[in-house]
Amino acid sequence: MNLDFGQIIPSLPFILNGILVTLRFTVLSALFGFALGTLLSLLKISNIKPLRWFAEFYTSIFRGTPLILQLALVYFATPQLIGYKITPIEAGVFTFSLNSAAYSSETIRAGIMAVDKGQREASMSLGVPYRPMMLDIILPQAFKNILPALVNETIALLKDSALVSTIGVLDLMRRAQVVAGQTFLYFEPLLVVGVIYYVMVMGLTQAANVLERRMRRSD
């Protein structure tokens, strides 16, 4: 055992800056993924068959292929296809949002179905149109029920975000590799970012607990 954390101390600020990159990446992907996932879930419960088919086909594609392949396709194939030179961050957020939407749409759909149908009937009987009924009555109750599942999805996103290191985004993971390349020390930088990921996930879990308690106010 010859661990030498002393050698990577000068690189610590470089590694720590990666926290922001990873965090921003995760937050953006989670938000876009959630919005798109909600939209897809509404298509899945719609009465219009082609919309349902589309949403289900979409989900099957993103669940049926590896995320790293989707990422590579978006990053390397987009310039070839449409001539737009996509940045690694854009490619990452784009792919992760689309992918996360596929997974969370299933969760959200289940959450909507679990809301008592009396809620829908009560809204309808008051003359409330579909949009406000969904936004104000059904979805808030659905989200409350599926909050733990959505937190899991966000945690998965946070950890999977390490995959963007493969297309050159200077996130936490990639920075650990860069430091390892400079110092020829592998264990130390990887261990450091491992701890950072762990702390971030724990923080997210705690934040979700607080949010969940607040939302249970009405019980």
Binding site: D116, G118, Q119, E121, A122, S123, M124, S125, L126, G127, V128, P129, P132, D136, I137, P140, Q141, K144, R217, S218, D219
Partner: protein, 240 residues
């Protein structure tokens, strides 16, 4: 106020309502009774299109609500409904439950909606519960809030779908009292109920349904003392 012409409702192969025709005048209180599975609730739910009729016409006011051109949201604003299981919005306070639709649908200001809501809460005796969430209320209180919520839209017609069936016995009276007070305001009411005493006391007319047919349509004195059909006689023997 409500005119039903040759109404038929089927769920798949099962015909639940068979050629129902009747009328409810403005200000009239109609009790709909009958054994379970007779189609009472379905009939009521057709009047605000929670169930879409298979055939026939229903007029609310002058509007044929079964016509494809009808703006059903408009009709529903004018037809309040109270459900067996209350269906209050659990994530909104009592006040939030009462003001939501008036603000969202009728476009009232928060102040105006709150004023109407407070007024109604006073009438149902629950003004002090305005800031509570429904989960903190008893069944009887929930149902009184639900009645106030429907009234907050200031409808001309109120539909009640077994409003006391999910309540503990000691809470039935408080809800019936609120409904009796409502009868005195002269609003048109259709009530699906198993409370025979209540039906007899407040209804102008009783509709007796059995097996999807409208078997009797009579004033309560006539219906309860001298029902014409055998089926109604048997039913009354069991429940009275």
């Amino acid at each position: 106020m409500i005119r039903i012409e040759h109404l038929v409702k089927s769920f798949g192969p099962l015909e639940v309502l068979k050629d129902i025709s009747t009328e409810v005048d403005s200000g009239e209180v109609v009790a709909i009774i009958g054994p379970s599975g007779s189609g009472k609730s379905t009939l009521l739910r057709c009047i605000n299109l929670l169930e879409v009729p298979t055939a026939g016409h229903i007029f609310v006011g002058d509007v044929d609500i079964t016509s494809p051109k009808c703006d059903i949201l408009k009709v529903r604003q004018n037809v309040g409904m109270v459900f067996q299981h209350f269906n209050l919005f659990p994530h909104k306070t009592v006040m939030g439950n009462l003001t939501y639709a008036p603000m969202k649908v009728r476009g009232l200001s928060k102040a105006d909606a709150s004023k109407i809501a407070m007024d109604l809460l006073n009438k149902v005796g629950l003004a002090e519960k305005a800031d509570q969430y429904p989960s903190r209320l008893s069944g009887g209180q929930k149902q009184r809030v639900a009645i106030a919520r429907a009234l907050a839209m200031e409808p001309d017609v109120m539909l009640f779908d077994e409003p006391t069936s999910a309540l503990d016995p000691e809470m039935v009276k408080e809800v019936l009292d609120v409904m009796k007070a409502l009868v005195r305001t002269g609003i048109t009411m259709a009530i699906v109920t198993h409370e025979m005493g209540f039906a007899r006391e407040v209804a102008n007319r009783v509709l007796f349904l059995d097996g999807g047919y409208l078997v009797e349509d009579a004033p309560p004195d006539v219906f309860f003392s001298a029902p014409k059909s055998d089926r109604a006689q048997q039913f009354l023997e069991k429940v009275l």
